[in-house]
């Protein structure tokens, strides 16, 4: 059972895990990305084109076409055109197009295929946590969303544009963004990737953060960012989602419940077991007569510089 003030314990656990990782890495060996048959040599993209002309042509509007051009110039040892991704092709050619003698992404697992992509794309700031992403852990690899040869969306070679692509799996999100009160995702103003780093990150739900590592919501809702002399504690400690449902809601202002007062009272009720940091205990005013919405008076509820009770900004 964990107890309070166990910072040391956490640090020890973290160090232990880090040590385990390092120790484990010492025993780990062998190539991470898939490889072509041993002895196979690079033959050049023009050879590939001889049989795969349609694919070659389809690659032209694609950033990876650069690989073909630079493969011809051999500007670096890793630039081999088609074979940059599919590996040396001589065995495949000599085998009369034997699919087992070349790296075929159709036959790879999501992790293997992604490892091949990450050979080049690992260093990107967006992708540098993909190895630990929720997507990859659940068998959703690069080629689940991106298509190098048949992308329908030029941007990032996506199989479909956002949010359609995301909705293909996240069916619940499509319904949420169709509610009366919603972020304008279906309208194209906001994209899923504006809030979520689909390639993984250190936040739960793969959320982005603002530049100062605060909540991503503050990138647009700057007026609620603060800092404030009088912070409404849950905004900063529990996050915006303690009161709001971020995708969409049947309630105005994306609130979790329909009545403002109920939302407030469910926290601001002093009870015997309540922690001491949650005064006031509830409204001094008769709910049946007036003050039907706490935020009518406490209108700066996200934080205030000039009112301890959030009456002023």
């Amino acid at each position: 059972m964990l107890r309070q003030n166990s910072v040391g314990l956490y640090l020890k656990i973290a160090l232990l895990l880090a040590g385990l990782l390092l120790a484990a890495s010492a025993y780990a060996a062998g190539p991470q990305a898939p490889s072509a048959p041993a002895g196979s040599q690079y033959v050049g993209s023009d050879t590939c084109k001889g049989c795969h002309e349609e694919i070659h042509k389809g690659l032209q509007p694609n950033p990876h076409f650069q690989l073909l051009e630079e493969g011809k110039k051999a500007t670096g040892k890793d630039w081999h055109g088609c074979e940059s991704c599919h590996g040396p092709g001589s065995a495949h050619v000599e085998g009369g197009g034997d699919k087992t003698k070349i790296i075929s992404f159709k036959n790879l697992s999501a992790k293997e295929a992604s490892a091949q992509c990450l050979t080049c794309h690992q260093g990107g700031h967006e992708q540098n946590n993909f190895a630990r992403s929720v997507h990859l852990s659940n068998d959703v690899g690069c080629t689940s969303c991106h298509s190098v040869h048949a992308a329908k969306e030029k941007k990032a070679l996506l199989q479909a544009a956002q949010p359609t692509l995301c909705y293909q799996c996240h069916t619940e999100t499509r319904a949420e963004f169709s509610r009366p009160f919603r972020h304008r995702v279906n309208e194209g103003l906001v994209k899923c990737a504006d809030c979520h780093n689909v390639h993984g990150g250190f936040q739960q739900r793969q959320l982005h953060t603002s530049a100062n590592q605060d909540q991503v919501c503050f990138k647009c809702h700057t007026e609620k960012k603060g800092p404030f002399v009088y912070e409404h504690m849950p905004v900063k400690t529990e996050g915006c989602s303690s009161c709001h449902t971020p995708h969409g809601s049947t309630n105005p202002r994306l609130m979790r419940v329909s009545s403002v007062n109920l939302l407030c009272l469910q926290c601001h009720t002093l009870s015997a077991t309540n922690i001491p940091s949650q005064p006031p205990i509830g409204p001094a005013h008769n709910q049946a007569q007036k003050y039907q919405a706490c935020t009518m008076c406490h209108q700066s509820i996200h934080g205030s510089n000039f009112s301890e009770v959030f009456f002023k900004p």
Partner: protein, 759 residues
């Protein structure tokens, strides 16, 4: 077209002299954006008129570039019946000519472009749509990559049940509030520019600039004696700059340094708005505010005497407040990403940020607060706040074998917010008796207080996982998530300048959350993937009463893609929250089940079907003060209360539940080559219930039906040219109690006729 209700007319008071309320600077940026799109359009059209060297199905070849372009111009007709303000809150599309969509792309596939290898510009919503976006990208391989994004949204909100005093109507005179006292008509313009230099070199540089501008009329309310309506036009600006450098020190290893500079301005001021303005016996106008319920003493028992405003009431002659918030926030960040060692992947990031906020303040009230006998008061004095934050993220992955990998993600986050307000208050009481709005000004007292406050939180969190995937058919991972949060919240204190600053007194809260997670995926055939994930979290403490001490999440997804043209997905997500403290009994859940089927069997036909059901609940014991007793109330049963704060310590197990069904379907037909038709229908139906603490309170959106059929027809009149018609119908209807307010129902027809040209 006059579509605004009187409420919107009030908003209209804030229209600025500059076009559509834009400041001069904003106008310049807006014009530059428009100019950029205009130039790109022109370039595209010129390119279109240039004889093509080689015509291909994808664009035209011109000067070594493959050029593609499309532009769609049209006119939207809008017909709204019912509550126009709710229509605008939900949809906000107006009538008029529109540049509906535009795109331009120039590519030099072989990398032979002089200034760029690729240039693309796309945009939509020009001409007054509520959402307006433009994106641009220009790049030259190995040299630079430039991106630009402009987003504008018109955020109209007037759902009238938030902050509504629910004034009774069975009295004379009655003043129902049929608008949102917190309504907004804010325009947000966001600009994001990014430039990467030498993107594939060992040393590359990143530059960025973002701007977020929010402005527009808005209402708010203020309580002193009575609640009055305030005009509060938003005037908020954020400018962010970033510069970064990436150094590829070793193969597959990148060290990055980033410096972010963010500057915020908030010049939002407030002033008294008129709602119930009457004339005093001496002819002077006085504002009695929003709540009009004399039986409950708002603004007083007898606000009207002999046809004139009763001077013994609470009332406002004037009120204003002024602030100039300035925040500077530099952040430094160092990142290391490495895949240098085989089978080991590592990412580490540390960052430090320090925000400083300062703001002068000025507040003036002239009127009467009967409780304190104040006739005038002012507040002034600057506020000063800091936010200091340090963050460290470490993530590692080791592939022990081809089938087994271990991962760990650790995050340390420590921020603190010390703040102070050097407040000067002057209070002028009413002279003589009785105290009325007509009383002359009496004695003035001045008080100076240095108010200080503090909030801070330190977080450690770690997620350790072991993944086992022996083949491409099956995988499983187990993990354990830990999070410790230590919060210190001070009680705001008045600092004695002579005695000096004393350590804060407040509350220390430590919350340890921990629990296992288990997930598995199965891919019995290439086209079918099944995912299941379970996570249990326990907490030994809580920060708010609705912070769960026991949380369970179950997520299941099935995706079946038998062919390239068919996709079937189904999900079931269940989140269960509990806090079992005897006098809280917090119960919350969010259960969601849905499926999507998308079929595109041939170019001439497609079908999209979607259904979703959501069951949300949030219940907890509450203590409330009220003479209206909601069913289930136990009078005087609050376990702990202060009689001075709560005269009616009523205890009830409060309830909120919502069941929402969503269904949509779209069919695309192409009966002949040149004709494309779409037919669709969407419906959202919500049924909910909640504890009602006031007999006048409408349930609002707890019960509604929202129909959204659509249709479109496109006819290709010539190569590259098409004529289009789009039709949307929306019908929103609330089933629940309306009270004295305007019904919040509407239905509309939105029709767009357009012409599209593309090549």
């Amino acid at each position: 077209m006059n579509h605004r209700t009187p409420y919107c007319t009030k908003f209209g008071q804030y229209k600025q002299p500059a076009a559509r309320g834009r400041s001069c600077g904003e106008n310049l940026m807006y014009k530059l954006g428009t100019l950029l799109v205009g130039i790109c359009l022109l370039a595209g059209m010129m390119a279109a008129q240039t004889p093509a060297n080689t015509a291909t199905t994808d664009g035209k070849e011109m000067g070594g570039y493959t050029v593609e372009q499309s532009v769609e111009l049209g006119y939207r007709f809008v017909d709204v019946t019912g509550n126009r303000n709710i229509y605008e809150t939900f949809l906000d599309q107006g009538e008029g000519p529109r540049l509906l969509q535009q795109s331009l792309s120039l590519r030099a596939p072989s990398g032979t472009g002089l200034l760029f290898d690729e240039l693309s510009v796309s945009s939509f919503g020009w001409g007054g749509d509520p959402e307006n976006v433009a994106r641009a990208r220009m790049s030259k391989a190995h040299v630079y990559d430039f991106t630009a994004l402009f987003r504008r949204d018109h955020n109209f909100f007037d759902y009238p049940l938030l902050g509504n005093p629910l004034n009774p109507v069975n009295i004379t005179p009655s003043f129902p509030v049929n608008f949102s006292t917190q309504g907004t008509e804010v325009r947000r313009r966001m600009y994001d520019f990014g430039l990467t230099l030498l993107p594939q070199s060992k040393l590359s540089f990143r530059l960025g600039y973002s701007r977020n501008r929010e402005e527009g009329p808005a209402f708010t309310s203020f309580h002193e004696g009575v609640d009055v309506l305030l005009n509060q036009p938003w005037n908020i600006t954020q400018n962010s700059y970033r510069i970064g450098v990436d150094f590829k020190a070793l193969p597959k290893t990148t060290i990055s340094y980033d410096q972010f500079l963010t500057y915020d301005k908030n010049d939002t001021d407030s002033s008294l708005a008129s709602f119930t303005t009457f004339t005093l016996p001496n002819g002077k106008p006085v504002e009695f505010g929003l709540p009009w319920n004399p039986a409950a003493g708002a603004p007083c028992a007898t606000p009207i005497l002999n046809g004139k405003a009763n001077p013994a009431c609470n009332g406002y002659f004037s009120y204003s407040r002024f602030q100039r918030v300035r925040t500077s926030n530099p952040t430094e960040q160092l990142t290391l990403t490495s895949n240098y060692f085989k089978r080991v992947n590592f990412t580490g990031r540390i960052s430090y940020s320090s925000a400083d906020l300062t703001s002068p303040y000025s507040e003036f009230f002239d009127g009467l607060v009967t409780r304190t006998k104040e006739r005038q008061f002012t507040f002034s004095g600057p506020a000063s706040v800091r936010r200091v934050g340090a963050t460290a993220d470490l993530g590692g992955t080791v592939d022990l074998t081809d089938a087994v990998r271990v991962t760990d993600s650790f995050r340390y986050d420590n921020w603190r917010i010390p703040g102070s307000w050097n407040s000067t208050e002057t209070v002028t009481l009413a002279a003589g008796t009785p105290v009325t709005l007509l009383s002359p000004l009496g004695a003035t007292t001045t008080t100076n207080d240095f108010l200080a406050n503090f909030l801070g939180m330190k977080t450690f969190q770690n997620l350790f996982q072991v993944e086992y995937s022996p083949s491409k058919r099956f995988g499983v991972h187990v993990g354990y998530r830990l999070r410790q949060r230590h919060v210190f919240k001070a009680e705001p204190e008045i600092v004695d300048e002579e005695a000096g600053f004393e350590p804060f007194e407040g509350d220390d809260i430590t919350v340890n959350e921990y629990g296992p997670l288990f997930a598995a995926w199965l891919r019995p055939i290439d086209s079918l993937r099944i995912n299941a994930e379970v996570e249990f979290t326990k907490a030994d403490n809580f920060i708010t009463r609705v912070s769960p001490q026991n949380k369970r999440e179950y997520r299941t997804r099935v995706q079946y893609k038998p062919t390239r043209w068919a996709n079937f997905s189904a999900t079931a997500n269940v989140l269960e929250n509990r806090n079992n403290q005897a006098d809280e009994q917090y119960r919350g859940h969010y259960r969601n089940y849905g499926f999507i089927a998308t079929l595109v069997p041939r170019e001439r036909f497609s079908l999209d079907l979607s259904y979703n059901y959501t069951d949300a609940l949030q219940n907890a014991y509450i203590c409330y003060n009220g003479t209206f007793l909601a069913p289930g109330t136990v009078v005087g049963a609050c376990p702990t209360f202060s009689a001075s704060d709560n005269n009616n310590p009523n205890w009830i197990y409060s309830n909120y539940s919502d069941n929402t069904h969503y269904f949509s379907s779209t069919v695309m037909l192409k009966p002949v080559k040149k004709v494309t038709a779409n037919l669709g229908y969407g419906i959202t139906r919500a049924d909910g219930n909640t504890t009602v603490l006031n007999t006048l309170q409408p349930l609002g959106t707890l019960q509604f039906t929202y129909h959204q059929p659509l249709a479109s027809l496109s006819f290709e009149v010539a190569k590259g040219w098409s004529l289009n018609a789009y039709w949307n119908y929306d019908q929103y209807k609330e089933d629940s109690f309306v009270n004295s307010l305007f019904p919040r129902n509407f239905h509309d027809n939105r029709t767009v006729l357009s012409a599209r040209y593309s090549f």
